[in-house]
């Protein structure tokens, strides 16, 4: 069966768009950590600075020992961090403060690494 030439670019564009939306089918995270608490409230943050496994691990470790956080899941390429937490122990603004705290560098100076662009 003969087909027109324009079918190639059209098919290509259609499949690329399909690929773009198919990303929702892959929900595996970059990191996923449970902290052993039971709070179930959910907070999704777009975090500037979470961009690979290394930064996602560092980000998650900042919440080690923080009371009220049950789990953190990150998707680095989307810059998304999803928290489950106990609102009676910690609130959204306190979580934002921890995210945006300055981080002490080896040379003694400190710098803010992460910023919370959006909270949902």
């Amino acid at each position: 069966m003969t087909i027109p030439r324009y079918s190639i670019p059209i098919l290509t564009i259609v499949l690329l768009f399909a690929g773009y939306f198919l990303r929702f089918a892959f929900t595996q995270p970059t990191t996923s950590v449970e902290f052993g608490e039971t709070g179930k409230a959910k907070l999704v943050c777009i975090v500037d600075g979470v961009k690979c496994k290394g930064t996602a691990n560092y980000f998650t470790n900042m919440f080690n020992g923080v009371e009220g956080i049950s789990s953190i899941e990150t998707i680095a390429t989307e810059h998304i961090a999803t928290f489950t937490y106990d609102p009676t122990k910690i609130n959204r603004e306190q979580i934002r403060k921890i995210i945006e705290q300055p981080i002490l560098l080896r040379d003694g100076s400190s710098r803010q690494f992460f910023s919370c662009v959006k909270m949902k």
């Binding site: 003969t2 030439r5 190639i8 098919l11 690329l16 939306f21 089918a25 892959f26 998707i75 390429t77």
Partner: protein, 254 residues
């Protein structure tokens, strides 16, 4: 309209969008859209159920889309989308303009050299899976160019590899795609099965060879009835070059 005008327009848009992302304007990094990132993420997903390094869902979904596209229209991704294929083609054409010559390699040597891309694919995946790092960043022109020799490149090693790639592309059309690209190697088996292919009408063909001369991958449509070659990108340059109307057409054929 010549198909090339349409194809180059599409490639220019993709190149522009990639540059836009590389300059930090987009929501994601330019790397997030690379289908090969999907390959690099497979082991981490299999072992830990998590994406490794800087790979993510979009890399994987793009890989799936490119494979489905290859099963339908061969390496159309390479001919119509990939910015590195586009830059390689432009550099190759510039090389031919500056030093007009016959770029045809001995077919046997050409085929043997193409095996390097499979070795590259195996090595890239082996070291990525072993270290959990995107080891290819130091050698991959896509990353080197759009990150501006950024984090993960290897100084002098990267400079040497990149220079060889540029000089190679200048001397041999589609040098990187033919011999080095691990994504091209990944798509190969699917492209071989691709449904939509160039078909030649033997009755109309005058055996002038213009189709092969126009093909960026040095495929010889005039020696075939259907172009099943795994390297065919359905760029349609051969159809544009053929002097005989309707001699070369696009057909759906198993």
């Amino acid at each position: 309209m010549k198909t090339r005008v349409l194809r180059y327009s599409m490639l220019t848009v993709v190149l522009g969008l990639t540059t836009y992302l590389a300059l930090g304007f987009g929501k994601r990094s330019f790397e997030a859209y690379c289908p090969f990132g999907g390959m690099e993420s497979l082991w981490g997903l299999f072992r830990e159920g998590q994406f490794s390094c800087a790979t993510g869902p979009l890399n994987l979904s793009m890989l799936v889309a490119v494979i489905i596209l290859a099963l339908i229209a061969k390496k159309a991704f390479c001919g119509w989308v990939c910015p590195i294929g586009f830059l390689s083609e432009l550099i190759g054409r510039l090389g031919l303009k500056i030093i007009p010559r016959n770029t045809k390699l001995n077919p046997k040597l050409n085929d043997r050299l193409k095996l390097i891309r499979y070795v590259g694919l195996i090595l890239a995946l082996y070291f990525t899976y072993r270290t959990g790092e995107l080891i290819l960043r130091g050698y991959d022109p896509f990353y080197i160019i759009f990150s501006g020799f950024g984090h993960g490149t290897l100084g002098l090693v990267t400079i040497i590899v990149f220079t060889i790639t540029i000089i190679g592309s200048f001397l041999i059309p589609m040098f990187f795609c033919r011999y080095l690209c691990p994504l091209g190697a990944t798509i190969d088996p699917f492209s071989r099965l691709g449904l939509i292919k160039i078909a030649r009408d033997e009755e109309l063909c005058i055996d002038c060879g213009d189709c092969q001369a126009a093909c960026p991958h040095d495929i010889a449509p005039h020696e075939m009835i259907y172009v099943r070659h795994r390297d065919c990108t359905n760029c349609l340059e051969c159809i544009d070059a053929c002097p005989e109307k309707d001699c070369l057409t696009l057909k759906v054929k198993l």
